[in-house]
């Protein structure tokens, strides 16, 4: 019976983390947006506006549940739950530190890609259930975009999986640092199994994975509907896209899912390409930096700092690049990213057979 309590505690801890991260991320997003545009961002609530998002969520919690008269009640109410749960379940297999993952699934990576796809159904339900032309347009765009971009992102992940030869998230990470039992070759030439650090990350073991990571990063931006791929929300043309009719706590859940998705895709990229909980510091002779900075707490620290850095880059890109048109979006996906991802996959095969032996 004890393990049921453990499950519940882990679930609550993850939810607490996601909620805390969202509050922090919305605040930092607004601050970054302000600084990029030579403004100050929120300044009034708390010192330097630090309590702003807390005040926002308090307001959202207190608001009334409003369901439009013409809405499909069941779909409308269920959609935010499905959108959030789909993303939340993705966290179930993410490794945080050596031996620390909510669930050590052998098909971890496959599971994450599959469960994130459920998000598209939630978005379609939200758009259709709202019975509003803007919502429907937004959700149609969202689904078309997510389904399309899953192909390059999936192919990019496969090209990394071909190098690591496992879908187990924890093993993927282990094979990128000093804890590995296999021989790790930096650029396929130099044995770095005992040196570790930055040099043993997947992107440095096989340099074409940089391209794969870039493809994955761009595709992941599209999958979490972030600018420059935010045509499903497109404030300037579609009011709010699929969440136009939502308010209060339901809107908060859609928002929570969006930021949780940002963190999740950033974390997948970090785990598969950038060494996960492995330290970036290599062993140098008697200075055993990698040995010193590997461990339970260090693992969480490295995972968090790498992932937050990637989330920061996502925000930086959002406040720089203009939105792509729908046809440009599809052209980029099908004519550029997909062929490049296939090319990466082919190189991965060659690399695995000839370079890694």
């Amino acid at each position: 019976m004890v393990f049921y309590i453990t499950y519940i505690v882990v679930g609550i801890a993850l939810f607490g983390f996601i909620a805390g991260f969202t509050l922090f991320a919305v605040y930092s997003e607004r601050k970054i947006a302000g600084f990029v545009q030579d403004r100050l961002g929120p300044m009034e609530t708390g010192k330097h506006g630090t309590l702003q998002t807390l005040a926002d969520i308090l307001k959202l919690i207190q608001k009334e549940f409003i369901t439009p008269a013409a809405a499909d009640k069941i779909l409308f109410v269920a959609a935010p739950v499905i959108i959030f749960v789909a993303v939340f379940l993705g966290f179930a297999v993410m490794p945080w530190a050596p031996g620390l993952a909510p669930s050590a699934l052998n098909l971890g990576l496959f599971y994450v890609i599959a469960i994130i796809s459920v998000d598209a159904i939630g978005l379609l339900m939200a758009g259709w259930g709202s019975n509003n032309k803007f919502s429907l347009l937004g959700s149609m765009r969202a689904v078309a975009q997510i389904v399309s971009y899953e192909i390059p992102s999936g192919l990019a992940l496969i090209s990394a999986v071909m190098i690591t030869q496992t879908l187990h998230m924890q093993e993927i990470v282990i094979n990128q640092g000093i804890a590995s039992q296999n021989t790790l070759l930096f650029l396929g030439l130099w044995d770095v199994s005992n040196i570790g650090g930055l040099l043993a990350w997947n992107v440095f073991q096989a340099p074409h994975l940089w391209v794969a990571y870039l493809i994955f990063f761009i595709a992941s931006l599209a999958e979490c509907n972030r600018a420059p791929f935010d045509i499903p929300e497109a404030e300037s043309e579609l009011v709010g896209g699929f969440h136009t009719e939502y308010g209060g706590l339901r809107f908060a859940f859609v928002f929570l899912a969006e930021y949780a998705m940002m963190f999740l895709v950033a974390m997948i990229g970090v785990v598969v390409f950038l060494g996960g909980w492995n330290t970036p510091l290599p062993n140098m002779g008697s200075v055993r930096l990698a040995d010193w900075t590997t461990g339970w707490i260090w693992g969480i620290f490295w995972t968090l700092s790498k992932t937050l850095l990637i989330v920061g880059v996502q925000m930086w890109i959002r406040w720089t690049l203009p939105r792509l048109r729908a046809d440009q979006l599809m052209a980029l996906c099908w004519k550029v990213l997909t062929p490049l991802a296939f090319l990466c996959m082919a190189i991965s095969g060659v690399w695995r057979v000839w370079v890694m032996g």
């Binding site: 030579d38 406040w319 720089t320």
Partner: protein
Amino acid sequence: MFKIALQAFITAAKGLAITLAHLFGARRSREVLDVRKADYFDKQAGVTTVQFPREKMPIPEVARYQLDVEIDDCIVCDLCAKACPVDCITIESVKATDVIGKTSDGSVKRLYAAQFDIDMAKCMYCGLCTVVCPTECITMTDQYDRSMTNLAELTYSFAEMTPAEVEEKKREWTKFQAEEEAAKRK
């Protein structure tokens, strides 16, 4: 297609470099500079936000914002009310029986200002009333920060007479007129 995509990536990188520079440039604030200074447009780096109620941009002393009336200098000629394109000035005058004084520039005052109201909610800050004023008693000031919770508070009253005084002056004038009529009839 790949050429276009490559071009897009290069320009995106340029854009990202610009925003990154601004992101780190936001560590300092642009100091509050006077617009009349010659190097005003040279300072382009840093946060531009002015935290308004706590800091204010310097404005010239001769700035042309809200209207002010020096009622002692007013000869109640009604020219400003006639000049106003939006009719925001309401003036009511009561004739005096004799000269009641002189303004600071020597004009003779023969009318009492029973009412001199300016509705600042209507005013469009054109300044035509200040141009036509013969005694230059209506002027534009450097006051611009006036928010009110009640719309009626935006109607500024400059007349200093109490209703009782107005009544008395009106009675005096009627009496004076009646006496004149009587004198003519004799």
